[in-house]
């Protein structure tokens, strides 16, 4: 089957059928009019032949819909360009060996969630000894000194720790995302680090379910890692970045 990469569409069971599923709630009670409203809305999204396969009144004048349809739009896959974290992914053993060979001292990594964010699941997955999904966390790396500062660390305290521990890399985890509060926290940290003259002296990384590399670069971070990231991805990035900047990380330390 030949796929036209300049014109790709969602696939259900026939090439270019555009099959797509949606679910949403409208703030009106269940009725035939509500169903029609759902269909018209879906059409406006560029989806043909909308089919309301399920609807349910949620009890307080709101109706939930599941709708299938055929997307009319397509994208030119050959013109896509995405910002990616540029690195070679190494495993636990390769990273420790890389540090011994190319850096020749322990790499200091601090992790924290900042602002009011109390969620540490993501941070713990990267930092904790045991790690996540069978991949050891940074605390387990013999060549890395990892400090997990935990949740809700004030920015001032984080900065003090960066000085005290002479951190090479700082990992920030942001989970809570209601009304984009994570963006505010992340921006404030960069501002403070710049004011302290620390920004260029560390590798600054952000991770979380709503984070991607492009957003991270935009906010002034060196890298952004989203869902599915494991400790070795983060560690690979840190050590390669350090070697790329020998004037900062390999000499006058």
């Amino acid at each position: 089957m030949k796929i036209d990469l300049t014109n790709i569409k969602p696939y259900g069971d026939v090439m270019n059928d555009g099959a797509i599923q949606l679910s949403f709630t409208l703030p009106v009670p269940e009725s035939l009019e509500a169903e029609e409203a759902a269909k018209q809305l879906v059409k406006k999204m560029g989806i043909d032949e909308p089919q309301v396969v399920y609807k349910k009144d949620l009890g307080v004048g709101f109706t939930f819909f599941i709708v299938y349809g055929k997307c009319q739009h397509s994208v030119d896959f050959t013109k896509i360009s995405v910002a990616k974290v540029d690195m070679e992914v190494m495993d636990f053993y390769e990273i420790n060996e890389y540090i011994r060979k190319n850096i020749g001292r322990k790499v200091v990594v601090i992790g924290a969630t900042i602002g009011t964010d109390a969620h540490t699941v993501g941070l713990d997955a990267i930092m904790n000894m045991k790690g996540y999904a069978g991949e050891y966390g940074l605390e387990r790396y013999p060549e890395i000194e990892a400090y997990n500062l935990g949740s809700q660390v004030p920015i001032e305290e984080l900065v003090a720790k960066i000085y005290e521990l002479r951190a090479d890399a700082v990992l920030i985890s942001q989970v809570v995302t209601q009304r984009n509060i994570h963006i505010e926290n992340l921006t404030k940290l960069v501002e403070v680090l710049e004011a302290e003259g620390l920004r260029e002296r560390i590798i600054l990384i952000v991770g979380g379910p709503r984070i991607n590399h492009e957003l991270a670069l935009e906010l002034g971070y060196d890298a952004g890692f989203g869902p599915g990231t494991l400790a070795n991805h983060v560690a690979s990035f840190i050590v390669q970045k350090m070697v790329e900047r020998p004037d900062i990380f390999l000499k006058n330390r």
């Binding site: 679910s23 949403f24 709630t25 349910k56 949620l58 009890g59 307080v60 709101f62 939930f64 602002g115 009011t116 964010d117 109390a118 540490t120 699941v121 713990d124 904790n128 000894m129 045991k130 999904a133 935990g150 949740s151 809700q152 809570v176 995302t177 209601q178 009304r179 509060i181 379910p209 869902p227």
Partner: protein, 521 residues
């Protein structure tokens, strides 16, 4: 006790005795101290409410006035009653005068002991009367309307706006929820005051305020009538204001409070001394108000591995139980917590979840066990997530859990949308209804995997309690024995609010020895 998994009774007795000894040592410490939050709770129960011109809550204004003079060790009750006796004003008027700089509480001439005691007695009786009245109203609702079937379906609302929360909560009740929890705004646990009034701006949740409590309880009373069962309301007696939240929850007829003896220390880095003192007094207030507590052991498993660290949950439950009973809570008020957090890729993971849930159920047969859904391994694949929640629902009904916090398929993506909650309730109702009496039809294979696993976990829990007993609970926390988090005696937030009691300390809400049955009411 039903014993379906052949638990070694001697081990259970041993575990309780160890937890009794472990907590006794901490309580000896606790009794020597009070905190700013304990005293603010007393001030609130005396009827003081509102804020000063700068928006600072009056209970803070009053307690800070006494703290600055170094006299908090005598108890805020004493200084307020003394000022009331001197000026013939109400507690609220005294607080307002302090806010206006007209009164410095510790400089008010000390009045006759009998008149101070009389005022304290009257004010506390009034507060107890309000609480007693609330308990009666709740009992009447439950008698008249009844409750949902166990496991009670517990859902969260978290819009940040109390009025938006009301819409979501009513919808949830109509869809079948039995308990509504209003999640607090992120960061509230670290505020050393309780915000004031109705609020519409929060992140990942809504401020816990007395007015918000009132608004939501009223809305749930209305919807209870509509759906024909009493809908319970939950909030959080945790963080730096544990006792104050307990006080306002008692005044506004909340039904369930998250309240853990160690959670704040481990997960919010609140000072250990502060939390121990606060949790003890907050539980006394909770005991008077017939509120069910939910403890937070489930959180251990989001940090540490659920399979390997399962015994730490059990050990902590025994400790939470003893702290609770000693503060005057009844077993029926002790919603000890645990969670369905094993790695879904693990072979036989479901068996280990059943073993754990059945073990908890049997160790605490009279307690309304709180069972938390998968969160750690929820990925954003909502289709798989919905099935993970389904497995959790099955284990819950199969092992007779009591308070069932619903998992929501969009966990790990955003705070729940209205239809996410609906899908989640539908999932639970389907499975629990479909498997309602499965429990009565099956027995666990003697010497089988589930029985062996449950007994191993219990044995390790007892070993852990033995070790804690040896070094003391505070030292055990310092060593990272819970959730692999290390906290020290003087580290963390809120230590400056801990004050040594003086010999003549007065707190009319403090339960004394021999009053464990709530005889004050």
């Amino acid at each position: 006790m039903s014993n379906r998994i052949n638990i070694d009774e001697a081990l259970v007795i041993r575990a309780r005795r160890l937890a009794d000894e472990i907590t006794e040592e901490v309580i000896d410490f606790i009794k020597q101290y009070t905190t700013v939050s304990v005293e603010r709770a007393v001030v609130r129960l005396f009827g003081v409410d509102g804020v000063d011109d700068e928006g600072i809550p009056l209970p803070n204004v009053v307690v800070d006035n006494i703290l600055r003079a170094g006299e908090l060790g005598r108890g805020a009750a004493f200084w307020i009653a003394n000022a009331m006796a001197c000026y013939g004003k109400s507690a609220q008027e005294i607080a307002e005068s302090v806010a206006h700089g007209e009164i410095d509480l510790t400089r008010v001439p000390v009045q006759r002991e009998e008149s101070i005691e009389k005022i304290i007695r009257e004010l506390s009786q009034e507060a107890f009367q309000k609480i007693r009245f609330n308990n009666k109203v709740r009992r009447e609702y439950i008698e008249r309307l009844g409750l949902g079937k166990e496991p009670y379906l517990y859902v969260i609302v978290a819009t940040g706006n109390i009025y938006e929360d009301v819409i979501q909560a009513k919808a949830a009740a109509k869809q079948g929820a039995d308990i509504i929890a209003v999640i607090r705004t992120t960061g509230q646990s670290l505020l050393d005051y309780v915000p004031y009034g109705a609020t519409t701006e929060g992140f990942g949740g809504t401020y816990a305020t007395q007015e918000n409590f009132r608004i939501m309880r009223k809305a749930l009373d209305e919807v209870s009538e509509e759906v024909g069962r009493y809908i319970r309301l939950t909030n959080y007696s945790s963080g730096l204001c544990m006792p104050e939240i307990a006080a306002i929850a008692a005044l506004e007829r909340l039904d369930v409070l998250l309240n853990d003896a160690m959670y704040g220390i481990l997960f919010r880095d609140i000072n250990m001394q502060r939390t121990f003192v606060d949790q003890f007094f907050s539980r006394m207030l909770i005991s008077y108000a017939d509120i069910i507590i939910n403890t937070g052991e489930d959180n251990y498993l989001t940090t540490a591995d659920a399979y390997e660290e399962a015994h730490t949950v059990i050990a902590s439950q025994f400790i939470n139980e003893q702290f609770g009973l000693k503060a005057g809570l009844r077993e029926e008020q002790l919603g000890l917590g645990h969670a369905f957090e094993m790695n879904p890729d693990m072979e036989d993971g479901l068996l280990w979840e059943i073993a754990q849930a059945q073990l908890v159920r049997e160790l605490f047969p009279n307690s309304p066990i709180k069972y938390m859904p998968p969160t750690k391994y929820m990925t954003g694949n909502i289709f798989r997530g919905h099935i993970q929640d389904g497995m959790f629902n099955l284990v819950s009904v199969l092992t007779n859990q009591t308070i069932h916090l619903l998992g929501i398929l969009t966990e790990a993506i955003h705070t729940p949308f209205m239809h996410d909650r609906y899908l989640s309730i539908e999932n639970a109702r389907y499975i629990m209804n479909n498997a309602r009496h499965l429990y009565e039809e099956i027995s666990f294979k003697p010497g089988g995997r589930i029985e062996i696993r449950a007994n191993e976990v219990l044995k390790k829990a007892v070993e852990m309690l033995e070790e804690i007993k040896k070094i003391g609970l505070m030292q055990a926390i310092s060593k990272g024995m819970f959730a692999q988090v290390k906290r020290t005696m003087t580290g963390g937030k809120g230590l400056e609010g801990v004050v040594k009691k003086k010999m003549d300390y007065i707190n009319p809400f403090y339960r004394t020895e021999g009053e464990r049955e709530g005889s004050r009411l």
